[in-house]
Symmetry: C2
Subunit: 275 residues, 2 copies
């Protein structure tokens, strides 16, 4: 664990990350000694900082921390948190503010192969995502909605929860983005008002394009989840998990689908994330 480049395990109580969730984060796999897609994560981190009007730590500093934490590690998970730094009382950001950068390395816990082969079970969460274009897309530290959604179930047989926004549109999983195969087309929810623009989501859209599949990015309603032929979720750690079953007002079982198989194949090693 490194805080501002030094080994440490605690942050100041005055840090605005704790006080207000005033910051952004990234979660990345170390796979076969390599931090996958670091440049893309860095780009989103920078975008997040810009959107929050805060400075982003210099690339060289982040890169140095990264190299230190991945040295000699075959598989692992890195979490990077960047906060606006220490401040006084009150919402007003300090000026100048010096961002805090926190890198934590976790051990890699492999996901069961069955989740990739047979797919996962997803429930529809009662907790809704609020809609605000100012915060949509970026991976900021205000994550109470995800926490409350994930708190809704304890059944280990349910692997992910699907979240709708307050307007009833399907947005994403608690920790993943969502893709559907609808009437032979690839669809993923529009995230301009809610949700996180996942790195793996972007890679899926690009991989699909490489095999001649265009992805429709648009509003998705819950009824479509029941009419879709097939669906999968993705994030940087897990790669792609097909959805086997959706548990909502009714149960929906999905069949394997050629369209999603083509995307997964085009993804190559990214389809298995950090595994």
């Amino acid at each position: 664990m490194l805080i501002d480049g030094r080994p440490a395990r605690a942050v100041s109580v005055a840090d605005r990350g704790l006080q207000y969730g005033d910051g952004v984060f990234e979660t990345l796999p170390i796979s076969a000694g390599v931090v996958r897609h670091w440049e893309r994560h860095l780009e989103r981190l920078r975008l997040g900082c810009a959107r929050l009007g805060m400075a982003c730590p210099e690339d060289t500093l982040l890169r140095a921390d990264l190299d230190r934490l991945r040295a000699g590690v075959d598989h692992g998970v890195l979490k990077l948190i960047v906060t606006r730094g220490v401040g006084g009382r009150g919402y007003r950001p300090p000026d100048p503010a010096r961002p805090t950068r926190i890198f934590v390395r976790y051990p890699w816990r492999p996901y069961p192969t069955a989740l990739y082969r047979s797919g996962i079970v997803v429930r529809v969460c009662a907790t809704r995502l609020s809609r605000n274009p100012v915060l949509a897309g970026i991976k900021h530290l205000n994550r109470l909605e995800q926490v409350l959604a994930r708190h809704e179930w304890a059944d280990p047989e349910v692997h992910e929860g699907l979240m709708l926004d307050t307007g009833g549109r399907v947005i994403e999983g608690t920790m993943t983005n969502l893709f559907l195969a609808c009437a032979g087309r690839l669809v993923t929810p529009d995230l301009s008002e809610s949700g996180v623009l996942g790195i793996m989501r972007g890679l899926c859209i690009e991989a699909a394009a490489r095999v001649g599949l265009e992805t429709e990015i648009r509003a998705v309603d819950l009824a479509e989840m029941y009419t879709a032929e097939s669906a999968f979720v993705c994030n940087s750690l897990v790669g792609i998990w097909p959805i086997r079953e959706l548990q909502g007002k009714g149960k929906r079982r999905y069949a394997a689908c050629d369209l999603l198989a083509r995307v997964t194949a085009a993804m190559g090693p990214d389809a298995i994330g950090g595994t």
Copy 2:
């Protein structure tokens, strides 16, 4: 500063307060050696913890910390943060979770008397509050919207920013609740989808009732801010500040108003908060 009852200045990086803004807070004045309205703040804290599905520290522990921090202090500000505690990676709350309680004492910085007598200048913020009944009302740690709103201006002559929700309704100030005098009636925005149920807001409603004034709690649109006879904001630290001028698409100057003067008078010392 006390963390879980012990003098400390830093919290674990693994604390969910930092990781997700997973917690609640209270800000209270110490005035003439007394922590004002502690029971009401405690009640809101408990409500917030219950709404987030987390344990609240025992009253006796909080009270012991409080007594330690107010001992020998004439005026000051206390901030209490309660988080869900330390956890592993992922949104799922640990079970069992042991909440972290953090008490910080700040020195009292008196507000200029003119703000109470002549009133304050308020701007209309561009940053909107999202709407989500699950999080509305409680004083949780996901405060990026307030941070972004407060980041919109640096002019020290502007004292507060008015925030609308994403539907265009007037909700509150960045750090205060709002009251209006409209057609001879006292009005305050409904907070069932956005905003914080302020302790001082509750005290104002009760004080108004004591002098025979009922408060309408309802949706307020921005146009009403321009037709209102008068308006004020309030919170536990400042008490009541009349609004002198609203800066939005047009400027609106408010006159002193008998109705608000009656509420202020009925509030007694609460009208001047920690001062």
